[in-house]
């Protein structure tokens, strides 16, 4: 695995007069092209009354424009035949599709138009019901809100702790007027990156994007509502109780969250290797101690990298009566690495596995799009697949030990969801 490289690609980027950035990782031998708009509009940009708005707006982008009805948008996306979708995170909203190269022009026409939505009142009311259903759907799924709660407790209920879907009451109270104001504020060209990977005609892309997004500069600037809001107390429907009741749950679900490394730090590669060695689902330390023995269903950890900070999450799922002993085993494994570091051969194994995974993932244009777009949006930086492979290979045992000492010894916030009281929150948390 030490000699493997990725397919050569051609990286190009340009910033339009409007401030909209266009980036591409081009491989003209590819069978498909993946294209997407990456927008700096996420849960952390919302104020209390806007909670869930970024995500609600993402849905509304599919509901029609001055030129297209909602049915037209969905129909045309299907006519292009590829895989298209959108997602919203704490920091960004992304609209993307992977299509055959012959459809590049039609896709950009459609996606660009979608990002000038009509936001019609009747569509807004119908979609509000869909969002409420989406919230209900996640309420029924493990870990029954424990991830959202851990973010709320760790970051506070605003900023990065703001839940992406919002709450029932924030969605019920949302108005189309609030959405229009938020849209104008966030969907300005300087907040947006158009990213493309695979078999892409870059010059045509830039020319078309410049035309199609010309009017976006007219969107009103304006201060964020977050600057004005009275950020005292808890938003409606939000609790910081670290114990969640899931009356029907057979298993107990434990999440911890603590500080970690952000997108800008070069230590992120060492942190990812540390997490792979400890928590990878195949052959990590936690796997052998807790999963292979049947003690737990899930025992893992991973870093979440944001623009200006990061967090380290652990996740443990097992029978409620096994939780205490499993927490001890998990903490022991983490502490052992913090004090003793890791072995060279286990680091080598994690690097080899990760490098092969990168090569396999990068083979499809859609597998390269998200890293490309997110990184350019947040850091104005491109890390090619080969540079990524080198970065992983350069991680040393000392690097891993250093991040382990730094981040596995911090106080963490613990959240548990289960049916009963037999699982106690640990006192240190």
């Amino acid at each position: 695995m030490n000699t493997l490289t990725a397919s050569p690609t051609d990286f190009r980027h340009v910033t339009l007069d409007s401030g909209l950035r266009v980036v591409a990782d081009i491989d003209s031998r590819g069978y498909s092209a993946a294209l997407g708009y990456f927008t700096r509009a996420g849960a952390r940009d919302e104020c209390d009354r806007e909670s869930g708005l970024s995500h609600f707006l993402e849905h509304m982008m599919f509901k029609g424009t001055a030129r297209r009805s909602a049915a037209d948008v969905n129909r045309e996306l299907d006519e292009l035949g590829g895989q298209s979708n959108a997602y919203t995170s704490e920091e960004q909203t992304v609209y993307y599709a992977a299509v055959l190269p012959k459809y590049q022009h039609r896709l950009i026409d459609l996606l660009s138009d979608m990002l000038s939505p009509s936001l019609r009142e009747d569509d807004f009311e119908t979609e509000r019901q869909v969002i409420l259903e989406e919230i209900a759907k996640y309420e029924d799924q493990p870990p029954f809100g424990a991830f959202e709660r851990s973010m709320e407790c760790h970051f506070g209920p605003r900023g990065l702790g703001r839940r992406i879907l919002g709450t029932r009451s924030s969605i019920e109270a949302m108005t189309a007027a609030d959405m229009r104001a938020y849209f104008q504020r966030r969907y300005r060209p300087e907040n947006i990156v158009l990213a493309a990977s695979g078999n892409v005609d870059f010059d045509a892309l830039v020319e078309q994007a410049a035309q199609a997004t010309e009017s976006w500069s007219d969107r009103a600037t304006g201060q964020s509502n977050t600057a004005f809001e009275d950020a005292q107390g808890l938003p409606v429907d939000i609790s910081l109780e670290r114990r969640l009741r899931a009356p029907d749950a057979s298993q107990a679900y434990r999440v911890t969250i603590g500080p970690s490394i952000g997108m800008a730090s070069d230590d992120r590669y060492a942190m990812r290797m540390l997490c792979a060695i400890l928590g990878d689902d195949g052959g990590s330390r936690l796997f052998w101690d807790l999963i292979d023995t049947g003690r737990a269903e899930v025992a893992t950890l991973w870093p979440q990298e944001f623009t200006d900070c990061g967090s380290l999450l652990t996740y443990l799922v097992c029978g409620p009566d096994q939780m205490d002993s499993n927490v001890r085993l998990m903490n022991d494994a983490l502490q052992r690495v913090a004090t003793e570091g890791v072995e060279p051969d286990e680091l080598q194994q994690a690097v080899n596995k990760t490098v092969a995974g990168c090569i396999m993932q990068s083979e499809r244009p859609s597998g390269r799009l998200f890293g490309l777009g997110s990184r350019w949006l947040c850091c104005n930086e491109h890390v090619s697949v080969d540079a990524l492979l080198t970065a992983y290979r350069d991680v040393s045992v000392d690097d891993v030990k250093r991040v382990a000492q730094e981040y596995l010894t911090r106080d963490v916030t613990e959240v548990i969801a289960s049916s009963g009281d037999e699982t106690e929150l640990s006192e240190s948390a």
């Binding site: 493997l4 006519e79 049947g294």
Partner: protein
């Protein structure tokens, strides 16, 4: 831009019954394999013990059917337990060695039991495919099946059972599958409290001996490979292994009527199923086009009319399931209890009236989708290997991409309309999970 360059498929039949199917994809840097052997859930129980959920009339009256209870079946989970045990050391490798040698070669491998077969699959950088074949042969032919680890492996399956109990859609679909297909085609692979007691290392060893063999087995390899060299290597590795007769899966034992499973959930989870035809049937693509119009994409009937126009739910879909000889359509909608009845009624109405107002545009969109998927499959050795295996298993040969494309292209709207007029489902099997049952007549 490259067109679909369908490189030649080589198929080799070994005397012991193993079929080797290879397709080079020289433009890739990766390779993948999929091996299917007998040893699926169908092999868990003797033929005489097949039956339906509640003992009601089976599709074939010639054999009496037994009442089947997935919660007390002493064999439930045996195929999955064997899969798990096979990975706990083989040939020269301990279970830790296996993981580390595969990780170091970049092989992303997995083993799982499904209804008819046990599947071994792996994706990797092309350089590792030959080593991967060697490891696969050790796993399949020389597993240690260590008795001292069977309790740990059973605990793993117990954890999986608990997880699926906590996931309402998984609980729902498990029950629906059993209602639609009965035992064995609807078996889930999960353990239950009884089988957790009865399953032992002896049952695993016996299951392995009787069901892991080349009879009816196949190995599909795709990606940046030399088909001749890899076929030769596979012949050496597997040519002298044992053969046998796979257990045929020829019929279903459906249960009529509907089921409600209580849960104090936020949503009512609705599952529906009806009889259909399998992949390989002469009308399959015509039937599948109808399901595509119903459920593939954001302009499909269910997404548009249940979600977009009425806002009734976030998730709604239908999909086809194929076995050799029979098939089915299963679907799902999740919605809050107050709107669950309307959601069910609208969803079933759309299915029953699918053929009433079909348009050419809808069929064309579905065709474009399939064409794009076929072309994009050329970007993934893993999906190609999966398709090779599935074709070989279901229809006994591999359909070339060109052949598939022309079969899809040739479908007319009249065919789809006629098929769905003639086969409009009258009987649905419906399972709900939620606070209250629904009217399902």
């Amino acid at each position: 831009m490259p067109t679909i360059t369908d490189s030649p498929v080589t198929t080799t039949h070994l005397k012991n019954g193993l079929t080797i199917v290879c397709q080079p994809m020289p433009w890739l840097r990766t390779a993948a394999y999929t091996m299917w052997l007998p040893g699926g859930l169908v092999s868990e129980v003797p033929l005489g013990e097949w039956g339906s959920l509640d003992g009601s009339i089976a599709s074939d009256n010639s054999s009496a059917t037994k009442s089947y209870d997935a919660e007390t079946d002493p064999h439930a989970g045996l195929a999955s337990l064997t899969c798990e045990m096979v990975q706990r050391g083989a040939g020269p490798y301990s279970s830790r060695d296996l993981v580390s040698v595969e990780d170091n070669l970049g092989i992303d491998a997995s083993v799982s039991a499904s209804t008819s077969v046990v599947t071994f699959s792996g994706n990797m950088p092309a350089e590792s495919i030959s080593d991967a074949m060697g490891i696969l042969a050790e796993l399949v032919r020389r597993p240690h099946l260590p008795g001292d680890q069977v309790d740990d492996a059973k605990m793993m399956l117990y954890q999986e059972r608990m997880a699926s109990l906590d996931e309402p859609t998984s609980r729902l679909m498990k029950h629906l599958r059993l209602a639609q297909f009965g035992n064995p085609a609807g078996r889930s692979g999960s353990v239950n409290p009884v089988s957790l007691e009865t399953l032992s290392i002896d049952s695993v060893r016996e299951f392995y001996q009787s069901n892991y063999h080349c009879g009816g087995g196949l190995l599909a390899i795709a990606g940046q490979i030399d088909p001749q060299a890899i076929t030769q290597q596979v012949e050496q590795l597997f040519g002298d292994w044992r053969s046998g007769d796979p257990i045929p899966l020829e019929k279903t034992y459906p249960t009529e009527g509907n089921h409600h499973l209580h849960a104090d959930s936020s949503q009512t989870h609705i599952g529906f199923a009806f009889d259909s035809i399998p992949y390989g049937h002469e009308d399959y693509f015509v039937m599948r086009a109808g399901i595509g119009i119903l459920s593939d994409g954001m302009s499909s009937r269910l997404f548009d009319r249940v979600r977009e126009q009425r806002g009734l739910c976030y998730s709604v879909w239908a999909s086809t399931t194929s076995f050799r000889g029979f098939g089915g359509v299963m679907g799902y909608a999740g919605t809050t209890p107050a709107r669950a009845q309307e959601t069910l009624d609208v969803t079933l109405h759309e299915i029953r009236h699918l053929a009433d107002d079909l348009t050419t545009d809808e069929l064309d969109r579905w065709k474009t989708r399939i064409e794009s998927n076929l072309i994009m499959e050329q970007e993934s050795a893993g999906s190609r290997a999966g398709s090779l295996a599935s074709d070989q298993f279901q229809i006994g040969r591999v359909m070339s991409t060109e052949e598939l494309e022309s079969a899809i292209e040739a479908i007319t709207l009249d065919q789809v309309r006629d098929y769905w007029h003639a086969h409009s489902p009258e009987h649905f099997r419906i399972v709900t999970v939620g606070p209250e049952p629904l009217q399902t007549t």
